[in-house]
């Protein structure tokens, strides 16, 4: 029995024939679509390493069955940069050293992008710390992560102001 599902992944419409209903969105991305930027840290929604945007919302891809995402729009870490030009959140993570080993980083970056889009990343670092607390970092690069999100939010606000002007 196969399941045909249709997904927009990083702007590209893809039809996937799934032979197994047990496949999670995370394993679909990693094992079948060669999009390995999204990481598996716990496989049970506790660490956030697999954070992607599904229909614009932050989700743990390990908790979503692929078949349940039929018709959805997924953005992963691979879909964030514009060619060689990094997304402001990506650039800010480098500038503020918001990572060490880098394994949680794709999830952190996607979570930050989602948080900013949600309008929840205010200028108050406490709100960012709270809003980013679904993404564990064992290296504990939290100081840099928080600074990066604050900085990226300002860069993006400045950019949208400029484009609106």
């Amino acid at each position: 029995m196969t399941f045909s599902i249709s997904l927009a992944i990083n702007g590209e419409q893809r039809t996937v024939e799934l032979d197994d209903p047990r496949v999670t969105l995370l394993d679909l991305l990693r094992e079948r679509l060669e999009l390995t930027g999204t990481k598996k840290g716990c496989d049970r929604g506790q660490c956030g390493a697999c954070t992607v945007l599904l229909d614009g919302r932050r989700v743990n891809a390990c908790l979503a069955l692929a078949v349940s995402c039929d018709g959805g729009e997924v953005v992963t870490i691979e879909g964030l940069a514009d060619g060689d030009e990094l997304h402001p959140v990506q650039a800010a993570f480098i500038d503020h050293d918001g990572f060490q080993c880098g394994f949680c980083t794709p999830g952190q970056v996607m979570s930050a992008v989602g948080l900013i889009a949600e309008g929840e990343a205010g200028a108050d670092p406490e709100r960012i710390r709270e809003g980013m607390s679904g993404n564990l970092c064992r290296c504990a690069a939290y100081k840099g992560i928080t600074e990066a999100v604050l900085d990226a939010r300002e860069r993006m606000a400045g950019r949208s102001e400029r484009s609106a002007a």
């Binding site: 390995t36 691979e78 990094l86 080993c101 880098g102 710390r129 709270e130 504990a140």
Partner: protein, 754 residues
Amino acid sequence: MLEVTSLPAAPHMRYGSNSGQALTRRDGVLKVTGQARYAADNHPEGLLHAVTATSTISRGRVIRLDVEAAKAHPGVVEVITPASRPPLMADPDWKGHLFAFRTEALQNDQVRYANQPIALVVAETLESATEGAALLAPQYETEPARTGLDLERFAPEAVGVGSPPGAAVGDVEAALGASARRIEASFDTAAQYHNAMEPHGLVAAWDGDRLTIDMPNQAPVMAGAAFARYFGIPPENVLIRTPFVGGGFGSKAILNGPQILCILAARMLNRPVKLVLSRGQMYGPVGHRGQTRQTLRLGLADDGQLTALAHHAVAATSSFDEFIEPAAAVSELVYASPAISTSHEAVRNDIGTPGPMRAPGAASGSIALEVAIDEAAEACDMDPLEFRLKNYAEAEPISGKPYSSKALRECYAEAARSFGWSGRPLAPRQMRDEAGLLVGWGMGTAVFHCPMFAAEACAVLRSDGTGLVETCGIDMGQGAWTALAQIAADGLGLDIDQVEFRSGSSDLPDGGIAGGSGHTATAGMAIDMAGADAIARLADIATADPASPLYGSGNAGVVAREGRLHRRDDETRSESYADILARAGVAQVEGTGRGGRDPAAAQDHALQAHGAVFAEVKVDPDLGQVRATRLVGAFAAGRIINPRLALSQLHGGMIWGVSFALHEAAVVDRRTGRVMNADLGEYHLPVNADVPSVEALLVPEQDPYVNELGIKGVGEIGITGSAGAVANAVWHATGIRVRRFPVRIEDLMMSAAA
């Protein structure tokens, strides 16, 4: 003899144009775009997926596995059990060297801890392998689990990785008996699990008798040789690729059974196999920080001088191997006392063998020592900083050796000033914030040794004026891709963008072990020596060539800088590397180098990094809820190659200290011996919202003895001192001395009732 150096005049002031610069990570773009390829991201053609079935008991024997049910599941290709496992060429219980731990690769049906692998299921898909493993439905003959520290003790022959189990100076018992005041306190520290974000995993592929393994590993050349033994092939036939390690913290330095089984399955089935442990499966076969109970006895003179310090630790190890958390050893390093003794005992539990976890021994011992010191200061009515300065060690306490360098006084002063320590009331429970929360301030001394291992590197200068430097360095987040490249560029007298740096693969020269905070020093020295060797060879060519402006400079020597050799005594006479090589008709010159400790330096000096950490906590007087709100640490760790990356290491370490004091503990079910919170929801790691304002300050320190580069290391020291500072701040906030870590709400609720 030709004198060649790449250094400008004052080696410790500024080293080349690369080291000392706060460059951003050279692997940063790969990491923020998802292109950094970790082991489990590899997907070679024909890949099979393996899943281990793991024991749900902690002691006994597997008496039945439903292999037929697993094999019948669609997609399952093979089920390996002790009954069907092909032979290995080495015994998984072999202990041939210091880093060899006994492990389980289905050598028999015995279960010695929960989460031990008891079978391996291989399938076409991950989903099929996972379900196949579940279908094995093991049945056991179960024996009672041995847990906790209230068991028969034994005296270990060694603690940590081959360290002596104790040390002493003076007569501690006599000194305690004669002391004006005595402090005795007992401390409990919990078992902790590394929980690197990247699970342990690998992709193994065979080509005839050649084996390629993609895996995160902190010591790949050593690991390659060990895997070669198991499979009866020469070490050079094993290639381990480990360009990115998603956190190691010690757990990825030790070989484990699941790795052997994955490689074995790949050979049996002649297809590449991927195995990734689940988060829960890592609470067993991949090491942890062992549980301890520590007793400290301090003798004090009336003026607050320590007259005796006895530190005894009992640590849990497994039933079948020894790694004894060397917790008491920290008391050999920090405070001066005419009489000191340290000692260890161990008990055997039905657990996976503990192992080195970030600041092994030092973290566990430091929190106990720092709290005991705080209690001593309290008993003497002294400020904790004043007390520590009173007992400042001018020479290493037990050995009496002079320090190679020790800027600890400066650390105390800078961190105290930045924190604002001077306004601190002596008595506890004196400060509240505007919300009515109890506020407390505490401090701790940070110390960590700076070992060096052995490493090799090779450096090449090419005819186009660029360089190539190779060593199997390991970047597990500390920043080796960047810091080692900075050293490499300086070693060759080139800009960093002119140097190709190859690392993270076991076919390169052995970069040694990424552990003990010694990797930058060890691999860095090998790289630096290789660069100097390549420059020497280039200088040989130039100074012997009558057409070169450097001809005849042999006695004066040359200096390598910005891609040119300069005559040392006449800098206007210089020539570019490319011109030297072009005229000689040579494509490139190669140099090699080795890194390692100068035995004389270690013989004559105590080699340690130091620091001071000050912490603020706030405690809800009604709920007992405690939060670390502010940490300031100052650290002196020799030369800092990249301040941006060093600060990240120190911040991370300090947060590990907060976690040690307030968050993390594995909770063992005494009935079954299983870890009850074997997942990231229940095993509490600090999340972003748990993390206070953290500030690390770098105190300049020049050390001519640790190594020629003056590097000590910053990977682990941040935990030490920090954990104790937080614990002491809890006391200062509440007046309650908690001596069991992590501090729990119930420990502080007692005070609320009082």
